[in-house]
């Protein structure tokens, strides 16, 4: 899985040592916590802060926390938050303009003291999402300074999934549930009748450094087998799957498919899917000025292709109808994204399905277009 040295098995105390080690190194440790009846990402100090014994029930437009009946720390799938809220925050101040000497403008970047984040419990689909946002916001002549400063300092403690949610389909997107690359440390929760611990492996030099500080025992072949069984069990429990077909061509060949009208009748254009999506990156710029007209500030905030003014040009929006906005979102996510960034924009996390108020299922929408098309081909 990696060549950064040994793997160990740690106990819950060892996990606490990890959190402490990260804090000692100046990281702001962020991980899953229960808040407002959902599992969100927030600051984390103690192992007990984790959603101990909780799981989530997820389906189209449905999310509910439930007790598991055990003491698993990571026994749930992803919630409404993703790490993008830390790496590509909902609102970032860009710069201030000040009028000096009556009419001369002075521009000053807004101070952006990004914390050094350590993310704990980053799942394979989320690592894939981060890798995608890296391509969008860093792999270019114009790297975004705000994203880059956060991203380059971030320490990622990844997690092999031990639980698949009802809307998960990472397996069919080839992004999970097993973590393959892009992490500093990776955990697999090993929960048995008489023992509860984590297989932990390093994926970077810094990860290996920290691992060497943790109290643990060398992992055996049995531990690795147990860890593989965990992800294989997760893989077999995926709630959804994306049809295995050439999706970009399928969608771009069906831009006038009646299914777009069908989905438009259900879609509320509420933008939830784009807010919870870990790869959606669109932003808008807001300009404000003080009443005296001496200073003005420009800031960036998340925007959505479902918003009415997203495509506004002189006097009207290019995409007025819900049909055109949903088509834009889905064709971008699954088709044109591939042309732009060499990868699909979907990682199979299922958030857009769970958090859609009417339960629109992106895998089902693809299947509907595919079904009709293949029927068409047969005749």
């Amino acid at each position: 899985m990696d060549d950064h040295g040994v793997s160990s098995v740690i106990t819950l105390d060892g996990l606490q040592c990890l959190l402490d080690a990260l804090a000692r190194r100046g990281y702001q440790v962020v991980g899953p916590r229960v808040r407002d009846q959902a599992i969100v990402y927030d600051e984390l100090a103690r192992v007990e802060d984790l959603p101990v014994g909780w799981t989530d029930e997820q389906d189209g437009g449905h999310y509910r926390l439930k007790q598991r009946g055990d003491h698993a720390l990571f026994g749930y799938a992803v919630g409404p938050h993703s790490w993008k809220r830390f790496l590509h925050p909902p609102r970032v101040g860009l710069w201030q303009a000040t009028v000096v000497n009556e009419d001369r403008l002075h521009f000053e970047p807004v101070r952006d003291d990004a914390p050094r984040y350590a993310f704990v419990g980053v799942r394979a689909c989320e690592l894939a999402a981060i890798a995608i946002q890296d391509r969008v916001l860093m792999d270019d002549n114009h790297a975004d300074p705000h994203y880059r400063s956060r991203r380059e300092q971030a320490f990622l403690v990844a997690l092999n999934c031990s639980e698949a949610g009802g809307t998960c389909f990472c397996d069919s997107m080839n992004t999970g549930p097993d973590v393959k690359t892009g992490y500093d440390l990776v955990l697999t929760e090993l929960l048995e009748e008489e023992s509860h611990g984590f297989l932990i492996q390093a994926g970077s030099d810094e990860g290996a450094d920290i691992l060497s500080e943790l109290p643990g025992t060398p992992a055996t072949g049995a531990h690795h087998r147990a860890a593989r069984e965990v992800v294989e069990r997760t893989r077999s429990n995926m709630g959804r799957s994306m049809p295995q077909t050439a999706i970009p061509a399928l969608l771009m060949d069906n831009l006038e498919h009646p299914r777009w009208d069908d989905v438009a009748e259900r879609c509320l254009s509420c933008a939830n899917c784009t807010m919870v999506c870990p790869t959606c990156f669109c932003t808008t710029v807001e300009d404000t000025s003080d009443l005296e007209g001496v200073t003005a500030e420009s800031s960036r905030r998340w925007d959505s292709c479902f918003n009415a003014d997203f495509s506004y040009i002189h006097g009207g929006s290019v995409r007025n109808s819900t049909r055109s906005r949903y088509r834009q979102w889905m064709t971008h996510k699954l088709a044109t994204w591939v042309d732009q960034f060499g990868t699909s924009g979907c990682v199979g996390c299922g958030r857009c399905i769970t958090w859609c108020p009417v339960g629109i299922d992106i895998t089902e929408e693809v299947r509907a277009i595919q079904g009709d098309s293949s029927q068409g081909e047969q005749t």
Partner: protein, 276 residues
């Protein structure tokens, strides 16, 4: 320094302001650091008006002149109205240049059809300057310009001067005119078949309202010009000009960085889609 702050505008002074049409002005700006490196015909800058916001505005000046940045602005929204009203010595914010240019190098040796509609002449003017500065590099050059009425002809004196050149054909047509107009009346695409050119060896550069470009591209294809040789300058909502904000997407293209100038083979099929 600046490269770390891709979002940060540079303050530059307005040097002059000239009214072109009823609601259209041409501004000359200090080049600042951003403008020192020159620009490609077809590129644009993001211009910021204090407290109102940034808008993308194409260069409309001579690319061989780098002492002044020339932009032609139509006052329609809050930002463009304020920008167009900027007095000399006022400061605006500048980021740029951004985007792809007209295929000036690729078109060398070919005949050029430069087709502009309305204010679309402004983003094409740098290409015309470039051609006139390097006339020997191009074959026959035809400018076809369509606009609403004789009162809406942009850069009129310049068009007349160009028309007097022996090696530059200028055709102007208007949608409607009074009886004092002695020129052509009719729409741009209808004039395409009347122009004598070799479609196999012609590069067409088209800029204007999207509908006009769509019909013009169609007329050019009917006349036998390859999709790869037809270039359009697209327009979409833009916030960042960096390919990050997502607003300007048109299919796979980010109009801000893959465009605004795009060859028709990248737009084919999408241009006529409703609300795409």
């Amino acid at each position: 320094m600046r490269s770390q702050h891709v979002w940060l505008p540079e303050p530059v002074r307005v040097l002059s302001r000239k009214q072109e049409l009823e609601t259209t002005w041409t501004l000359e700006l200090e080049p600042g650091q951003s403008g020192k490196g020159g620009f490609l015909p077809g590129q644009f800058n993001m211009l910021y008006v204090f407290g109102v916001g940034e808008i993308p505005i194409s260069f409309s000046g001579d690319p061989s002149q780098t002492e002044r940045l020339v932009h032609t602005v139509r006052a329609v929204g809050p930002a463009s109205s304020q920008l167009a009203a900027s007095r000399p010595m006022a400061t605006v914010g500048l980021r740029g240049p951004f985007g792809t240019g007209w295929p000036m190098a690729a078109a060398e040796g070919s005949d050029l059809l430069i087709i502009a509609g309305g204010l679309g002449l402004a983003p094409l003017r740098p290409a015309i300057y470039h051609v006139l500065n390097n006339r020997e590099r191009y074959g026959r050059v035809v400018l076809l310009y369509g606009t609403r009425s004789p009162d809406d002809i942009l850069f009129r004196e310049q068009l007349e001067a160009w028309n007097r050149l022996s090696d530059f054909d200028v055709h102007i047509t208007v949608d409607h005119a009074g009886s004092d107009w002695t020129g052509k009346v009719g729409v741009v695409p209808a004039l395409v078949p009347t122009l004598a050119f070799d479609p196999e060896d012609t590069v067409a550069m088209v800029c204007g309202p999207e509908i006009m470009m769509r019909f013009t591209a169609s007329a050019l294809r009917d006349a036998g010009v390859d999709d790869e040789s037809i270039y359009l300058s697209m327009e979409r909502n833009m916030k960042c000009a960096l390919g990050h904000c997502g607003h300007c997407q048109f299919g796979s293209n980010f109009v801000c960085k893959d465009g605004p100038v795009l060859s028709f083979d990248r737009l084919r099929g999408l241009l006529s889609l409703k609300e795409f």
